[in-house]
Symmetry: C2
Subunit: 158 residues, 2 copies
């Protein structure tokens, strides 16, 4: 009995397009925010994933935590290593899978990025309110869960 849904006005379509637009705006804002630090949104996120994990984990572990593929993360990690923001430590549990660690410069860069992000995060939260932020996060999470259930999840099936 579905009504004749115009693909342009379907609520799910409009929400999806809004996600696309906000995603682009967030990446753009993030790039601008951390550009003075020699960072990009992707490099910043990888530094954050390492910091959040306690400071040392292999590339594949970073990828899992971020929901990306090893290959994507690896390129960024190599880039960060070339810039001296991360270094590699031997992994007692796996000879080839070296642990990625923040260097002093990397720790400092991530702290500086966080300091630059904090005011904007507060502004965004104040604009929409904590309740709406929580509700939106829940809704988006439900959508992502439904997508992965309906379509075979992403991951690293290599």
């Amino acid at each position: 009995m579905n009504a004749v849904h115009d693909p342009f006005t379907h609520p799910a379509s409009r929400l999806a397009l809004e996600v696309f637009r906000l995603n682009g705006a967030l990446i753009s804002a993030g790039d601008t925010l951390v550009a003075p630090l020699g960072l990009t949104s992707a490099r910043w996120q990888v530094l954050g994933a390492i910091a959040e994990a306690g400071g040392a984990l292999p590339t594949a572990g970073i990828a899992r935590n971020m929901g990306l593929t090893r290959q994507s993360v690896q390129r960024v990690v190599d880039d960060l290593a070339a810039r001296g923001l991360v270094c590699f430590a031997t992994n007692p549990h796996h000879k080839r899978a070296k642990l990625v660690q923040l260097t002093a410069a990397g720790t400092q860069a991530f702290a500086a990025a966080s300091a630059r992000w904090a005011p904007l995060a507060d502004l965004l939260l104040a604009r929409i309110g904590p309740a709406a932020a929580e509700a939106a996060a829940t809704t988006l999470h439900q959508l992502r869960t439904t997508l992965s259930e309906a379509g075979a999840g992403s991951g690293d099936p290599t």
Copy 2:
């Protein structure tokens, strides 16, 4: 003064990460959905933008409607033209800016993509409910507006 916000647990940070993840999931699901039609998410969206606009508009116009740059859209349009899904018509208002039109094959491909998307859109909407969809769309729009106000809008300043 602001509480000591852990950058990992700030509601705005968590919402941003959720947007990133859902964006990736939507693109991935879209690619899978329309792959049998020889389409990708990007090509599908461009076809949709042309169809929504009534069938003919220049590349730069498509880009404005989608919130992307001319250059990004142009590559996809050229690709669609090579595949016979769109064609170019002379523009009475601008000699070089030819109008992009859907071919019969393009119209058919977009209709097929819409037909494949409809059930998934209905499923997603049923999962979260119309009210949550509307609320989330509003919240995301507010965030995007706030970002563009705070950080110099995106667009095509070329």
